[in-house]
Symmetry: D2
Subunit: 371 residues, 4 copies
């Protein structure tokens, strides 16, 4: 259960950083969706390590193998099992970690919870777990593209990108327009504001050379979502988005629409007036961030996610061993000074999973019967 996400369109991920493979099962996928391994591969390639000189040099081809659920190039409605073999394993590189808890990693809490842990590369806590999420998210994205167009006249498009690295933020007001995928992918930091992107890259290189790390903020916008997705109480759309985001490694915060800054406005400044536009009910402003009362209102969904600086740094750190005795730890080897750029496709994948699941739930309750 703890490794499954979603209620109707579900994904279960499995696998450790230095085990033989990682993977995912998608269960509940609508039948007859055209789907090829290449489409999934495309998203995995965006997540793959070793793509630029500002991320981890771990080399993984990350070739996905689809083992079930596809026939004649279409989904059958049965579980889709996807497998990615781990290639660049260096188990010996982690011997020191068998006995020492890395600060701000999951080593201590895994040991405390389970009484056992696979210490090699973080085991299950490694970001390699997100390979399965991205593979599943690729399927969800395709459903939103095709299904959104067929059901609702427009594809649902999800665009995540960096707005901040360390203390370098995109200036206010310069990203009003929905960024294109090309703008995001133009630089390895995935910030569509070119001037800021350049500074971010320099900062990451500088930090890397010092064996240190930085975090940042990802903004995500979604357009084409029809009104009506979500639920009024516990399963509010923003609640499920928040859960999805805080389920990602290294995340420390989530805000939607006006977010924390909105707490400094008055109601008269914050409320989104309604108007008729484009032949339907629209809001004049979008401080709600596309969700009202837990349910999408058809405006752009806009939220931001805070990522802490990478816990692995190439500097000596104070810690304890399994017996609680003080010791020092110095990570060696591969090092990812800023994971935020590679988190962009992962954020998008999780959003796609949330939206498809809620779409199916909405259709079930509100679209099955006419009275």
């Amino acid at each position: 259960m703890p490794n499954r996400f979603g209620k109707l369109f579900t994904v279960t991920t499995w696998g450790e950083s230095h085990g033989p493979a990682v993977g995912a099962i998608v269960d509940g996928c609508p039948p007859r969706l055209p789907l090829s391994a290449e489409e999934i591969q495309g998203e995995l390639d965006r997540r793959r390590p070793g793509q630029s000189d500002i991320v981890t040099p771990r080399q993984e081809a990350d070739r996905v193998e689809i083992l079930s659920g596809i026939f004649d190039g279409r989904t059958t409605g049965h579980p889709i099992s996807m497998l990615v073999r781990n290639a660049d394993q260096r188990p010996g590189a982690y011997d020191e970690l068998r006995e020492k808890f890395r600060p701000s990693h999951a080593d201590y809490t895994y040991q405390a919870k389970y009484g056992i842990r696979d210490h090699r590369g973080g085991g299950r806590s490694s970001a390699r777990e997100t390979v399965g999420r991205v593979a599943a998210g690729a399927i969800a994205k395709k459903i939103l593209m095709l299904g959104g167009t067929a059901c609702h006249g427009a594809p649902v498009e999800i665009r995540a990108f960096l707005t901040q690295v360390h203390d370098l933020a995109v200036p206010a007001g310069v990203l009003e327009k929905f960024p294109s995928l090309a703008e995001v992918e133009a630089t390895p930091v995935r910030c569509p504001h070119a001037a800021t992107a350049e500074k971010m890259i320099e900062r990451i290189k500088a930090v890397r050379s010092e064996g240190d790390s930085v975090g940042g903020v990802i903004e995500c916008r979604v357009r084409g979502v029809p009104p009506g997705l979500g639920a009024p109480v516990f399963d509010r759309l923003e609640a499920d988005l928040a859960k999805a985001m805080l389920s990602l490694p290294a995340t420390k915060g989530f805000e939607i629409g006006s977010g924390f800054a909105g707490t400094r406005l008055r109601g008269s400044e914050h409320n989104d007036a309604f108007e008729s536009r484009d032949g339907r009910v629209r809001t004049v402003t979008n401080r709600s961030g596309g969700v009202q009362g837990g349910i999408s209102n058809g405006e752009e969904i806009v939220f931001r996610v805070a990522f802490k600086p990478t816990a692995t740094i190439l500097r000596p750190q104070q810690t304890v061993d399994g017996q609680g005795a003080p010791t020092e730890l110095t990570a060696r080897g591969r090092h990812d000074p800023c994971v935020v750029p590679r988190a962009v496709p992962i954020v998008e994948a999780m959003v796609a999973l949330v939206l498809v699941d809620h779409w199916l739930r909405h259709a079930a309750q509100c679209g099955t019967f006419e009275f």
Copy 2:
């Protein structure tokens, strides 16, 4: 399903603002817990409207009736059904809303989703729904007090309080200590820093006199949580806390530990070094906010929640009617210029629900069998 929360210790809430009653069912409660209606009433009284001159004047006695699941003063392990009759209904007061969508409320999205809505007082989207959460949370709190002490040597204590109203924030560094309940309850704004509390009260009164509203920030701290609660992937403890918080009306953001501010630190500044203290593994700092790798590490859990300004304001607002025609709306009557103080017991209730549920899940997987 959408009105149920939790996997093992579950609560289902029901009821509308101006229907006959609201309530909750708690299913999965451990047996033999001593429990009286008075204990639940105590938490409901903290949430009750009409308690001070800075909140809504709606008058509700909010007397809870326990209909099942208790025998000889103890829980039996069977569902606990709790009922609170609505008293102060003024259905006629809402006739205008049958046809007009209130800005930044759930009126439009409910209509878009369901094709029908109970417009009286917001129906299911009203904060009266949270009566059921608080009643269920009172049971969870008692479990954490008694069960925590029995299992773990210390009660689990949950303390929420305001740190910001509009642009008035508690100064940095003055709330290092875990505030006492008395300090929080000392003023109707539930801010334990007396000087700030006074300013907050004045600001709320000023805003109310202008027919306007303000939001704010609640911080919540939890002490006594044993290491090991949570899960490594989708059901991370912070993910379920984020979901719980964003499931509350009017919330726009969540951050844990260092939160959004932590994105401006370097890894070498952010990491929480381990040490041995009090005979167990502890962190020197707590930027993680008590959770690492999705699992509690035994430190204080610390998070903050952003509440937008109340959507109901006593000023004319631009909107549309059910046919999309432009119209103006002016709320009349009861008005709650700042809901944040009354959200304090609701936040605590949701945290208690999350923690009991995760405690049971952890005990099931990791505490049932010894190998």
Copy 3:
């Protein structure tokens, strides 16, 4: 969780035999269904005790109160809370049971599991729990009538009836036709074969006069189910029907289509050949009982449920007390010599819950998107 049934259309029941009330919450109901308390009352009246001289003389008006989820005579899509007050409580009548375990009742196992039990009238194990199921099932039945007609051209009709009491069984071959409700309700035993019904009534009266009890078999047929409901593996339609039936008090067996007798046929005798009939694919015979590969095939769903003789008998029985000491027990007072006739509406309710839930699940996965 253990008191909830269904995945999308869910019911949670609560309440004990001698507590203040029993009830149910229906969550996930489609919006805009016309619904009145009278319609629910109609089904409750079929289940109500004290209706004839062959069932328990307990007197309960069983008036249902709807507390939420209905507005302007239609469902809103929000939880429907239903409450039935217990009237004919005689708690004192059960004092002996505080210390003694009734044979073949739940007394011992409840005590073993929970360490506490409400001994009055069986508490939660009482058949009064099924009040909530029948109330929820009445809503599901209405959905199947209206929704089936709108979506599929024909209402889904569920008809349960007795085919056996003790060793008196309806002769083979006399019930080929789908019985009408009037035929079933013609006698208090709810056996549509009049000659057998008469014998059953006499047998029950004879057994009652001896302070003894008998069981029997209920057959249930469902017509109008579209092909496609169900799932291929764990959630096969017959698996969920079996679970629903075995979740009823006093049930000991379930069989669908050819059932246990079918094990004595050869494949060449058992297989249901396909043909074209009425413009669609039909089977020539129906040994499958309307389900193939876990999914409805559009034929009548036909299954049977075994009910053991009532455990409460007015004769001395050997048992032990809470300390394990041998003792004797003689039930006094109210006595239901055969619960099977009153189980008919309960069986129907559970079938309706299963079918609506599967219909919504099917529509979600296979009817939301067109590719």
Copy 4:
């Protein structure tokens, strides 16, 4: 969701008969359980085709590969992913089935539900799906052996065996004793009564030579189950066992304890009197089949499952094609005249899954906190 079983100890199976592989994910497994691939292989070997001359000649080595969740020979508490490659695929052998619906198979209903199907060897409806169940069940069995002994002083032992093939049944009264595994495995029909086993084998051979098939009945007994497993209402232990059994291909019925025959007894004959024996509360008889009020009472759990004759027969059968036109079908090639013997380890696997899941659920609710 439809391919997942269990609430806390869950298994998700995936894979088609003629796809590249089949497999399963176990999520929620307790940590630190010693586990090797060989132990899982042992159970798979019992299920494997081609083992004797009375079953299908399909040749599959069915070697299991464990891809995650094990470290240093013990479970880590993370998902256990298991993979079995399909070897003996003959896709071309199924070309005729692309257009014709096999009687009493899932061909028509899959097409009706999904609008697409993998026709090769039944795709997902093939009994090869049960490979994943058996692999997962092997883990559950080990937990019951080790955990049962540690927690409860005795291992939980699950023993399934044939009591009937076609009209050949084990004589009443000869199988009172709990059969040993050796007695069951002594013959390929897995009937521990040697004389009946011999007749069964002959009957199966005779039927095979005629291109026909037969079904039968499996009885399953479980000893060592502690009192207290199960739940009082929807998740009764017998309800979940019934669901588990009816989720298996070719099953048509389930009965526990006295079953259908018990409906012919009076209450005074059927009730299980309590006594003190072996220092604890026991029943004198066991017509309840080890479960009372939905909860185990510590006696042997005894139930029976009806399997219809195999649908695939080597005789011409009347059917229709995808356009509804009448046609004839004659299966060729591999043919399993009686699947019941190979269902024995599958039944045991499902029982183990149910029991471990309920054990964890019971421990969570009733064993976590002491009040």
